[in-house]
Symmetry: C2
Subunit: 459 residues, 2 copies
């Protein structure tokens, strides 16, 4: 059969590069046409290039007629839109009987389509990027294996981070923005982070989040630290871990990042809830001074050191100076900006990837379990380094699982219908195998059980 199968991708964002490349590379052998649609035709054209099996399409998703027409003509639809726009696409896919793939969290509204999706025998695959996505698949593979062998899960901890690759790591924070900087600046705000340790519920409020890190270590890459995510407990349901004693999810940074970031938190610089007076003409120094008590003589530097009890020879201090937050000549230049927006601007001066910089994705899972009366632990990790500024580690780890899932659904290799996430063996097994072929490889090792039990901890 030689019928061309049309894959409609909606949204030509940053993570689309690896997704598109994978599908274009397979387009000859698999008889594919890739239609990349975006509100900006130029953006779509630039990303799809001159490939004979690629086509750029200008599409405004709020133009219902055009959207329905594009979806109707496709064989499968990949929505890379911001999560809040998936629902309209999903309803059209349902109406025209098309399978659909997204990398976003399943919304309540999308989940409610499950029955209808099943009745039409369709696959709506979600949360199949990096996190959520690769984390689900790589964790569930080991969780299922432990359970299939008769083991009982005691502990599951899972950590992911987008960082700068060691070869491009040239600042004191060991950090650069590899994804949406705004999300980094406001990370952790809102309700307390919630998790369980040895059956005890634990809550960390924002003002302490960056002082409650865990230290991690990955062979060949050294030490990292992790700070708690807000939503650890939702994974009890999703991974069927209802009785687990320890469940913790965290975000990975290089050691020392959080202690320094906490300075911004304590000053109030990450606040996104109000706008500052005169932000447009404010200097970086004035911005910093806004959070310190008034004094007629004392310098901003001395006030800050005294306020937050920072020694002048502390590395923390050098981290602040590196960001130039005391500079009286650099101007914010943002109208009616919140502290968080201003901080983001200051950080982007220093933490934007340079042309030759590479990013790095780090993921680490810890599984503690009991098997035949013995406590055991497995650690599984992957580190992915970006190739360049187009095929970043982030674009690969988000785009490849989406692309692989799309083709496997199109080919009927993944076929169990419903609104779903990749936690079933039918889905994760073939995708993880192909991710490994593409260099996203998890390394497993056995370690002594490191839980938090009296039996295993001294003192």
């Amino acid at each position: 059969m030689n019928t061309i199968r049309k894959i409609l991708i909606i949204g030509a964002g940053r993570s689309a590069s690896s997704l598109i490349k994978y599908l274009l590379d397979k387009s000859e052998s698999e008889n594919l046409q890739i239609i990349l649609s975006d509100i900006s035709l130029e953006s779509a054209q630039e990303k799809i290039g001159n490939h004979p099996n690629g086509r750029a399409l200008k599409l405004n998703i709020f133009d219902e007629v055009a959207r329905k027409e594009a979806i109707k003509q496709a064989d499968i639809v990949v929505s890379m839109l911001p999560a809040r726009f998936h629902l309209g696409v999903a309803k059209d896919c349902l109406a025209f009987g098309k399978n659909m793939v997204t990398a976003s969290y399943v919304s309540k509204e999308l989940r409610e389509l499950d029955e209808a999706v099943k009745s039409k025998n369709l696959v709506f695959m979600n949360e199949i990027g990096l996190d959520p996505g690769i984390d689900h698949m790589s964790a569930m593979q080991i969780i299922d294996r432990i359970r299939d062998n008769g083991g009982k899960l005691l502990l599951f901890e899972s950590f992911t981070g987008g960082l700068v690759a060691p070869e491009s790591d040239d600042n004191l924070w060991h950090y650069k923005f590899t994804w949406n900087p705004r999300n980094v600046v406001v990370a952790g705000q809102g309700s307390a982070a919630k998790f369980i340790q040895e059956g005890k519920y634990k809550y960390i409020p924002y003002q302490k989040l960056f002082r409650r890190t865990e230290i991690l270590s990955i062979d060949g890459y050294g030490k990292f630290e992790a700070l708690a995510n807000r939503d650890s407990l939702s994974y009890r349901e999703e991974y069927n871990l209802q009785d687990i004693l320890t469940l913790y999810r965290g975000t990975i940074r290089r050691v020392g990042f959080s202690k320094a970031w906490n300075i911004f938190v304590q000053l109030g610089m990450t606040d996104d809830s109000y706008t500052m007076e005169g932000s447009e003409t404010m200097s970086f120094r004035e911005f910093t001074n806004s959070f310190l008590p008034y004094h007629p003589f004392d310098s901003v530097e001395l006030k800050l050191r005294s306020y937050l009890k920072i020694d002048q020879d502390d590395i923390l201090w050098e981290k602040l100076e590196e960001l130039d937050i005391f500079n009286p000549n650099k101007i914010v230049g943002l109208k009616n900006a919140t502290p968080a927006q201003i901080l983001q601007k200051i950080l982007m001066n220093e933490w934007t990837l340079k042309e030759d910089d590479k990013d790095m994705i780090v993921m680490l899972h810890k599984f503690g379990y009991e098997y035949k009366g013995e406590k055991k632990q497995i650690e599984s990790s992957t580190v992915v380094i970006g190739e360049d500024q187009t095929f970043t580690a982030m674009a690969k780890t988000v785009g490849l699982p989406v692309a692989i899932a799309t083709l496997k659904i199109l080919n009927g290799d993944i076929k169990t219908p419903g609104v779903q996430i990749p936690t079933s063996k039918e889905v994760y097994e073939p995708i993880l195998n192909e991710l490994a072929d593409n260099g996203i490889i998890f390394t497993e090792k056995k370690v002594p059980y490191l839980g938090y039990n009296p039996d295993t901890i001294n003192g």
Copy 2:
């Protein structure tokens, strides 16, 4: 003329005692009938007693017919309802041509009635309790005087607090609840506190609010501390202080309260944004432990001391122990409670006024100004001690200005129409005089100008 004038009071809350007493005491000489209405007839009856000029009325304010009827028959209406319910009452007052008095902040919707209120020549007086209320009047009297004499305001700082009277002060926190405990527990949350010092905008986030106190001193009552209110800058408009260099409003506590309260803030115990698992059967000790890292051996006490770096011989520690937050036998007993609700319950065990306890209201204003090239400063303060648990300082300072204003509006002594707050001389002058007759007396003293200028501060 002997016509009886009817004053309708809606809402027989805690602050109504002094209000009712004042009006009943005047009812003979002034020909008044006081109709105290409440959703609970018993509550109204209990408060109005058997006074021949008093009448209790059961009134559900959501029963539109009954509400309109009650308002129609009154000569003036005092709404002591929660602020969000004033608007319905105000619209009826407008329709039936009745003057109205409230102790609440003017809402945007209420302000929008201003034109209509003026066109009917009505007085809708608001913010005429303690704070807002007495603060407006006592500050504006001095601000107007300084300006009328040709002085130029440089600094206005204003502080109010509801505390326990010295004779009933028997705990280490020097604090008891004299008003709504919930407001105390969640105080300061949300956007940063914002004010100006020497022309510089300053912002304090919640996580630092309780570490940025100012020390105050009031003759005969010793030292206090103040923490910044959220809304200082709105007073520029209201008091016509647009060019002022320093503007700060704060809440008064006894010295040391805030440093200890900050422990709750840092732990996350004041958070009202999520509910805790198993709150109903949780012990006070388990509640405290929820905010600390898990450890198989270390005690909750040691973990807390280490986490927040509290020495074991620090008075902070005794303050925590006094509240019994480490007790494993006291049970929270609240279903699906937020940390803030649980903390409130714990505090109410210790900080509820006992039968013989008296409360205390403290208010202090600082006015810095320039007069004929010289910088001067005035401090004005009042301290009011409650008589008992009925005629508390809070009830007096909220209820008396409301009562006095009501009678003066009824008698036509206050007559400039409109939706207003008591910042004009016509209003504050006679009311402050009569408050003084009732024991609410401001003491003024001249002090050296204490601004924050290079000229006046050393080092």
